[in-house]
């Protein structure tokens, strides 16, 4: 299946990726190649096969007690943030 430019623009927006006009044709052709390549799967008979999400049989999600185990490190963590003020992360104005 070949993707059109509009398909790739829609995917890029869903993924929140800005793709420039000059980059776009290369993505349209390479993503089309990849989709054609993975289309080989459609020919495999899989009726009644249980989808496999995890490589180990019988692996269960463990539960833990709902107890505080970590100290507050937010000062340290926020040193990596592009913009903070008074312990809050700053983003462009969302509500006018």
């Amino acid at each position: 299946m070949t993707l059109k430019r509009q398909d790739v623009e829609k995917i890029a927006h869903l993924a929140r990726l800005s793709i420039s006009d000059t980059e776009m044709p290369a993505y349209v052709s390479s993503l089309s190649r990849i989709v054609e390549f993975v289309d080989a799967l459609s020919r495999a008979p899989t009726e009644g096969v249980e989808p496999m999400a995890h490589p180990l049989d019988g692996q269960r999600q463990r539960l833990r007690p709902d107890a505080v185990t970590e100290a507050d490190h937010h000062d340290k963590y926020q040193r990596n943030a592009p913009s903070v003020q008074a312990g809050l992360y700053l983003v462009p104005r969302v509500i006018e």
């Binding site: 989709v35 080989a40 992360y89």
Partner: protein
């Protein structure tokens, strides 16, 4: 020549107080300073911290403590978070990211007394098979600096091949330890999914990612893997089973070991590659192993399966990079959507964006069943094939790669050609199996790898079989000219 000694030999010298960890560390730091410019394998050097850690190891040794890795230097792939040290994952997105905590792998190796020299270059977010997608530029193969070292753990592999460190860490989602190990002539092991904690290891595809090691020999890899492995409550997929003493199992005889030969892997195999595999097989039969033919009929579908499952998981995992809490942020965003789209568009490289978009597509409404669910079903068929194979064989032997290292730039224009490099390695990730690559000869002067794949938690059997092969051959002792 300290860099030609094995981990065991270095540990013996440290234990005998013939040499200090500070001296060993200085030796390797000097090698990195002198040789890394040619390879671009190390992107962050932590000389000061390394010398402090070495001095600490020397104090522990002086107090009578002994350990297989106590005072031994290593290089970490830059995908592992290292407290207070930049952790870039090979991406512009994390170029300014200083990890606020240690990954469990880093913490365990620190506790064992291993000394971090620096962080290794890698394909951006571990997406690549040639180390050409790194924001910091390609890594060069020490055997031929016009060739790629493989990827995504290309810096880790090249560093060990050039003896810039006795061992290094890596991660393997579709072959990212085994393929570069093969192309640079070193030994690399990816353990069973769940064996090594993924905590603090930057996520690419969570149902496939697993950490492992590069070393010159299986014996050295055994010592390193043992220290890294084990249950970690901070990783919900970590498996709570005891870690065997991998080093203690290396000398077991191979008499009666059943080696499975995969017919599918030999179809279309280049004659010189086939000759290397057959020579390796002759070594094994000489050691008393038997061969049985096994079949993995769904294996030809492993690459398309992987290129649905891995991008799907990556598109989800990489949604955390939003330009708000950490990582790259674009200049003067107009609004929140513009902030997200331009921060991600400018912060991620071309291959990462391609994988995120592939994943977004296969998970999107109308395509989920046809691609993602279908791939998960085929993944089960491939896994069942391996189960049937291991009912007959103790391990499976096959090539690691179809060809030796290719030229830098040779495959960058066509992603599908690049993806097909992983044809022999991806199956083990889909099924969560332990697998390793070890040097088995040369084609056109470039190293080639032999791959051993085992059933779940058979790391000890793999390391034993690899060590016995390395006792009978000397391929792993060859090093690149000008570096060894």
């Amino acid at each position: 020549m300290l860099h030609t000694l094995s981990i065991g030999e270095l540990a013996a010298k440290l234990a005998g107080r013939e040499i200090s960890s500070v001296e060993i560390t200085r030796h390797f730091l000097a090698r990195i300073e002198r040789l890394n410019g040619r390879l671009n394998a190390v992107i962050t050097l932590t000389a000061e911290q390394a010398l402090a850690a070495a001095a600490q190891a020397d104090r522990r040794l002086a107090a009578g403590e002994r350990g297989k890795l106590l005072g031994i230097p290593l290089i970490h792939k830059d995908i592992f978070c290292t407290d207070g040290v930049r952790t870039s994952c090979g991406s512009r997105m994390l170029d300014n990211f200083v990890a606020p905590y240690d990954a469990t792998v880093v913490e365990r190796l620190k506790a064992a007394g291993a000394v971090m020299l620096g962080k290794a270059n890698m394909d951006e977010f571990a997406m690549g098979s040639s180390n050409e997608t790194s924001y910091y530029g390609p890594v060069k193969n020490p055997w031929d600096e016009t060739k790629v070292p493989g990827g995504s753990s290309g810096g880790s592999a090249a560093a060990v091949a050039a003896r810039l460190a006795p061992f290094s860490t890596g991660t393997d989602t579709g072959g990212s330890i085994r393929q570069p190990a093969a192309l640079t002539g070193v030994t690399g092991i990816k353990p069973t999914y769940g064996r090594v904690s993924r905590y603090g290891m930057i996520a690419f595809a969570s149902s496939l990612d697993q950490a492992g090691v590069f070393a010159v020999s299986a014996a050295d890899a055994a010592a390193a893997l043992e220290a890294m492995s084990g249950f970690d409550p901070r990783d919900s997929t970590s498996v709570d089973t005891p870690v065997p003493d991998y080093s203690a199992g290396l000398d077991a005889p191979l008499k009666g070991l059943k080696i499975g030969l995969l017919r599918e892997f030999f179809e279309g195999l280049e004659a010189r590659n086939q000759a290397l595999i057959e020579a390796a097989l002759a070594v094994y039969t000489g050691l008393g192993a038997e061969t049985v033919e096994v079949s993995l009929p769904h294996l030809p579908l492993s690459v398309p399966t992987y290129y649905v499952v891995a991008p799907a998981e990556c598109s989800s995992n990489l949604s955390r990079f939003d330009g708000v809490r950490f990582g790259y942020r674009c200049d003067s965003p107009r609004d929140l959507t513009d902030l997200y789209e331009r921060s991600r568009g400018e912060g991620f490289g071309a291959e990462v964006k391609r994988r995120i978009m592939t994943g977004t597509y296969v998970l999107s409404a109308g395509y989920f069943d046809a691609y993602y669910l279908k791939a998960q079903k085929v993944r089960r068929l491939i896994t069942d094939d391996f189960k049937a194979a291991f009912a007959r064989a103790d391990l499976v032997l096959c090539p690691t790669t179809p060809t030796p290292a290719f030229g830098i730039g040779a495959k960058v224009d066509d992603p599908v050609t690049m993806y097909l490099n992983d044809i022999y390695t991806i199956g083990a990730n889909l099924a969560g199996l332990p697998a390793m690559s070890l040097p088995c000869g040369f084609i056109d002067g470039l190293p080639m790898g032999l791959q051993l794949i085992g059933p779940h938690f058979a790391e000890q059997r793999l390391l034993n079989a690899a060590h016995q092969y390395q006792q009978a051959t000397d391929w792993h002792r060859h090093g690149p000219h000008g570096f060894v």
